[in-house]
């Protein structure tokens, strides 16, 4: 396959990935941020201290997080049709991607917000601030570097999940690699796609780290910016491995293809 043949395919796939990941990240942040904050606020000793809400929310988040993406996609089929009117294509893929990412991001938000010094909350309470003021002026701004790090982690995870969206015909880079590399033995295109993915992920990670570190520095902290993604990557790994084998075959393909040329 020549470069001029690959180029339009790559371009289209890149746009599809960007589209899916962009929208699902946005929805994940919009949904996960309040959910994560709610988990902190309703916890015992929290500002809203509501054990019932906390337990239920926590359980829902846990179940949603432990579900392999491919299963989530199937399970949400009806819901997806209800929201987008179809179960096929980019829009249809956004629904399970976003819903899978909301609890993932919510847990990252929860961890980040818990790190905020309780003394700051107390200070704002002593000024007469209400819970909403505390959320807006203390919890979110003070945990912003960690929230950005968490968003970066979520984007990278979503790029991984989006490869499986090819199973519902959503396209994207991951799908391109699977279809051409694995199914049609166009290994050139597969490797180029993998390279593009690697570059995209590096750029996102770099930009995210840069922003988080910048904020962290600005507020004058010594030491490195929060390294949430390393912590999370490790404990998220066992959950993602079944999906990788299900939806991202480049790894096994690589080993079988290598001796050939």
């Amino acid at each position: 396959m020549t470069w001029s043949e690959m180029q339009p395919l790559l371009e289209q796939a890149s746009w599809d990935t960007l589209y899916m990941v962009g929208w699902s990240t946005l929805i994940a942040v919009v949904g996960g941020l309040p959910l994560g904050i709610l988990l902190v606020l309703t916890d015992r000793g929290g500002l809203l201290g509501n054990q019932a809400v906390n337990k239920v929310t926590g359980q829902v988040v846990n179940i949603a997080r432990s579900m392999p993406f491919i299963i989530l996609m199937v399970a949400l089929m009806d819901f997806t049709r209800w929201v987008t009117g179809t179960t096929i294509g980019r829009e249809a893929a956004i629904v399970p991607l976003a819903i899978g990412a909301i609890p993932f991001f919510a847990r990252l938000v929860e961890t980040a917000v818990r790190e905020v010094d309780g003394g700051l909350v107390e200070a704002v309470q002593s000024m007469g601030g209400n819970t909403w003021t505390i959320v807006r002026k203390v919890l979110v701004p003070e945990s912003l570097p960690s929230l950005i790090a968490g968003t970066t982690t979520t984007i990278v995870a979503l790029i991984g999940y989006s490869a499986m969206a090819g199973t519902v015909g959503a396209g994207g880079l991951g799908d391109l690699a699977v279809r051409y590399g694995y199914q049609r033995f166009e290994s050139d295109l597969m490797w180029v796609t993998v390279a593009v993915l690697a570059v995209v992920i590096s750029v996102i990670q770099f930009a995210g780290d840069f922003a988080a570190r910048g904020l962290h520095r600005r507020s004058g902290h010594a030491g490195p910016a929060p390294r949430l993604r390393f912590l999370r990557d490790r404990d998220a790994a066992p959950e993602r491995s079944p999906e990788q084998s299900a939806g991202q075959p480049p790894e096994p393909v690589k080993s079988s293809e290598l001796p050939a040329p």
Partner: protein, 364 residues
Amino acid sequence: MITTSGLTKIYRSGGPRGRAITALDDVDLHVAEGEVYGVIGQSGAGKSSLIRCVNLLERPTSGTVTVAGQDLTALAGRGPRAGRELRAARSRIGMVFQHFNLLSSRTVQDNVELPLEILGLSGRERARKAAELLDLVGLGERARAYPAQLSGGQKQRVGIARALAAEPKVLLSDEATSALDPETTRSILGLLRDLNRQLGLTVLLITHEMDVVKSICDSAALMREGRIVESGTVTDLLATPGSELAAALFPVSGGGEDPERTVVDLTFQGDAAGRPVISRLARTYDIDVSILGAAVDTVAGRQVGRMRIELPGRYEDNVVPIGFLREQGLHVERAEHPGPDAPAAPPAGPAAPPVAALAKEETK
């Protein structure tokens, strides 16, 4: 200005059946308008619990808190969340913290503006007020800095500016100087004192350092195991026989083993401190006076001191010179005593009850 009555706080750990810790036990506190009131006590005495109950950051188990004539406990309502009225009342009470509690994501100026944002002031007004306050605490230059770029003392100044932003009448301070070195502590205390004078601010401060009480407090209370065991104006306390606070403010020690000699502690305040009482005593009665220990300091703007002197002869033989000292306006207290049940009452005044700190110096 601040009155608590029957204030009790019981912490329960591990649910309603868990272990109960009584942090405050029937505390009656009265802080007059415009004074600096110090609460002192050992770690775990309940000082923080007390101050946190004053603005209801901590719900009292029972008892009432009245600040500026307003019963805050009545405003609190039932639930754990603070209602609008309680929040409005809190905004009229400033609070300064041991660890400053400045928002690291905001500049110094924005930190000071925070209480004003909560009150809903316009941006221009907030900026003007913040600049004014930062000048007041001597940090006008650092408005654009972030808290992490400041020293501890500067951070506490920002904390104070922030606490004053909403023009409160009352300032609460929980160990505001405990994280600072002695030099910085002095400058922060000086600032609090100035603010107290200039703005007529009532200050309730918690500390475990006697020096803090000594240097700025008009009144003080001593807490132990959740109770206030002693309280009053510093002047009164110093004149109170057997006051632990007075003894702790001016520790004097030494001598006192010989039953043939009399050891007394003198406390002098105001004018008396300036008069050559001891030399007059020696001259008038022709006796040798030895000074065993002394401390002189300025408390609440007045010169106050303590001195332990030794007179020849038994206590009973020294009734006249001691009477002379009392006439001079000194508070005289016997440092040695045969025992709590057998006070050798001098005719000139009431017997000093045993002072715990000095009890070890009993005569045989």
